[in-house]
């Protein structure tokens, strides 16, 4: 009776494991391969050439830094934009709400490269091309909808009663936000921020056009190798990219959880666990 679900969940975990990890296997093999021809299941020889190139190139690490830096700023700006927007659209009767939502969600539906073509000329005139700032602004378009959506859903589940309750206990606007609203939105913020970081990290076209080669993120380094037919280096870059993305997510998750945890247990950790 008890064994059944445990067995099942073990099976599920293994299945998930395979599902997530198996696609990485060929990447790892390819990045280390020396002479890997089609009918062979495994490469004939091994070589660290690709990894040596990727790891020893200063640009790689600069690109990692810039990619993360941009993703974090983009996410932060998204947060600042999405919070008041979601608040307004959920809490107040806004005339033409559908229009606002349509505008915010438009970048998901309209291919980014169409809008970027238009943005590019304006950015050139404003002197925003080739700058991190310009790239950050351009990344907001495809990422904001996800952040907004996630926060809006969280907001919809937050009854006004909670804020009223805090008010009746003497909490002004700021304490209400930090003690009631923010903790409630945190899971949504986390989901939105994860998507925002991932999407920002994966932008090639937008970064390429607006950054014009001067803002070099990981995809900018990676793409020429994919199209240039050097699978080993492309695989090595892809793995590095995957590792950075996972680290960014785990790091962000841990940081926010830690914040959450700290506000949960502000006192010293001793005492009997109930």
């Amino acid at each position: 009776m008890k064994k059944q679900p445990r067995f099942l969940s073990l099976l599920l975990i293994i299945g998930l494991f395979i599902f997530v990890l198996v696609p990485f296997v060929p990447l790892v093999l390819s990045s280390l391969s020396f002479g890997w021809r089609w009918p062979d299941v495994f490469p004939q020889g091994w070589s660290l050439r690709a990894w040596e190139y990727v790891v020893n190139d200063v640009r790689t690490w600069q690109a990692v830094g810039i990619s993360l830096w941009i993703a974090l700023i983009v996410t932060f700006v998204n947060l600042l934009l999405a919070l008041p927007a979601a608040n307004a659209l959920v809490r107040y009767p806004v005339r033409g709400r559908w229009l606002f939502e349509a505008i915010i969600f438009a970048p998901i539906i309209i291919p980014p490269f169409i809008s970027v073509m238009g943005i590019h000329l304006s950015f050139l005139r404003f002197g925003l091309t080739e700058t991190v700032l310009g790239v950050v602004l351009a990344h907001i378009a495809p990422t904001l909808p996800y952040m907004f959506r996630a926060i809006m859903v969280s907001y919809q589940t937050l009854s006004v009663d909670w804020e009223d309750q805090a008010r009746m206990l003497g909490a002004g606007a700021m304490p209400r936000f930090f003690h009631v609203v923010l903790p409630h939105l945190l899971p949504g913020i986390l989901a939105g921020a994860s998507l925002s970081v991932l999407i920002s990290l994966s932008q090639y076209l937008i970064t390429f056009i607006i950054g014009a080669g001067q803002v070099v993120t990981l995809p900018i380094l990676l793409f020429p190798f994919i199209s240039g037919g050097d699978p080993a280096i492309a695989s090595a870059y892809s793995l590095l990219y995957g590792a950075i993305a996972i680290m960014a997510l785990v790091g962000m998750d841990a940081a926010l959880k830690r914040y959450y945890q700290m506000s949960r247990v502000p006192q010293q950790e001793k005492g009997v666990k109930p």
Binding site: P39, R125, F126, S227, G229
Partner: protein, 414 residues
Amino acid sequence: MKTYPLAALGTLGIILSACSSEDAGNATNADSLLTADWDAIQDTAQGQEVNMYMWGGSDNINNYLDEWVAPRIKQDYGIELNRVPMNDAQDIINQLLDEKIAGKTEGSMDIIWINGENFKAAKDNDLLWGDFTGQLPNFNDYVDADAPEVSEDFGEPVEGLEAPWGKAQFVLVHDENQHEDPPKSMSELGDWVKQNPGQFTYPAPPDFTGSAFIRQVLYETTGGHEQYQQPAADIGNLEERLEPMWQYLNSIEPYLWREGETYPESLAKQDQLYASGEIAMTMSYDPALAASEVLKGRFPESTRTYVLDEGTLANTHFLSIPFNASDKAGALVAINELMSPAAQTAKLSPENWGDLTALDLEKLSPEQQQAMNEVDLGEATLSIEELEQNRLPELSSDYIDIIEEGWTEYVAKE
């Protein structure tokens, strides 16, 4: 909601444009560099940071620039050479076009690596700086400026707008252990595929190499390359002239890989087929590529390249300076250095890149010639001499569209 970023953009734009207008004077006195003394140019170049925009998909080429060229230029001339990786040279042209429309005077591209269609597009749209090659000592000393492969780029007169950096030549690739005697002309190839059905194919245009193979067929089946040195529009009966080419391609089709029902969509796919032994031959517009694939272990060690008896297509790739480059003096010095016999010799080595030199061997000193000849090109690569003796000029780029469309119409569809 949406107005926030827009408003922020507006203010930023005003601030930034105010900043950049201060040093806009640079562009006008840069033109004097076209006539200035070389020493003066070197003085101006000192301390400049030169951005070189180029395709970034080869670790060999990237390493050559980053580890061989850049440190030397830094040490000898105080110039910081910064390689900017691009996915496609076409992107460079699009970028410059937008910058031209937006009136951007202080561009960050100082050197760009282009040829063929991209050069023509850049030239037609006035995206290039000017006639600068005459200023380069290494161009004057070591390049035969009148040679067709230097004075023209796919039929387009160069007019000093770009400096030759290296050369490429079409070669066929085969495995010596499997076929000792590969076909060396199109008629031999026609017989060969019938004897070895399924062993040959070529990448479908618009793949660059596949398209070049068809031009190769064009030259041999329609009576030589000379007739195509004039613009396509000047030939009245062009369709008629191309007819034997389509006939040839259709005649070999049933004997190709998968009976010609489908073609590899790229050279990378075709190389994969060759690497896995599914087909016996592949091809390349880079005579050293096969050698480097052998070094990487992808191609068998017995892989060899060869040229056709009647010669193969060759082209030159060039370095140019955009109209709005910010550090033109630095760009001139860097290009000059990239054309030096030492840099060209290093570039020739397959360990670095394996790219053929753009210099005229006869203009080099005996020591320099010897250094170049001593470079081990690898067993798979032909000698420089053999390649040079079998060189055919490219035809102008307006033919390429006609041929690619015709292939879809007459070969792929039937």
